[in-house]
Symmetry: C2
Subunit: 97 residues, 2 copies
């Protein structure tokens, strides 16, 4: 049983803002250091999803402030999900190959 955590975060990108949103993926080395791995995938014209892997729950908490700062920095490029800027879930890794 691993203690690794994965998080999946959906961003609904405003029309015409995709390029600027992608260009905002210029994280500092210190920010990157919280993740075991991280990627953005393009699901649809206006839907980008972040899939992040963390060594443990402590790393999730350590990344939180910078993650929220980053979210605020791109807030003008995304549509809200009701009252929320993103739609997300996280979970503990229970199997891998």
């Amino acid at each position: 049983m691993s203690n690794k955590i994965w998080s999946v975060v959906k961003f609904k990108i405003k029309l015409g803002c995709e390029e600027e949103f992608l260009a905002a993926h210029n994280f500092t080395d210190e920010h990157k250091s919280h993740f075991l791995s991280f990627r953005a995938i393009r699901v649809d014209e206006n839907l980008v999803v972040h899939i992040a892997e963390y060594e443990n729950i402590e790393k999730v908490f350590a990344a939180q402030d910078q993650g929220l700062d980053w979210l605020t920095s791109v807030e003008h490029l995304i549509e809200y999900y009701h009252d929320s800027r993103t739609e997300s879930f996280s979970g503990i890794e229970i199997y891998s190959h």
Copy 2:
């Protein structure tokens, strides 16, 4: 720009069936060979999510038949999302670190 594909598939597990569902994660080496990486995460008591990484779209297609066979084999352990056995999305990797 990478051509890697990621897929995220949600499974709503029937009450009391989580253990059996997890035990069903015994894929053959040939099935595993379609993935660059694969993991299951436990989001909630009854929600398990598969996060799969494929080298390219051809590998997604190559994995499809065995994936559907596997889904049929665990069908009795999961609740439907309306008419669908799972809720899922896929996308092309556009950024990683």
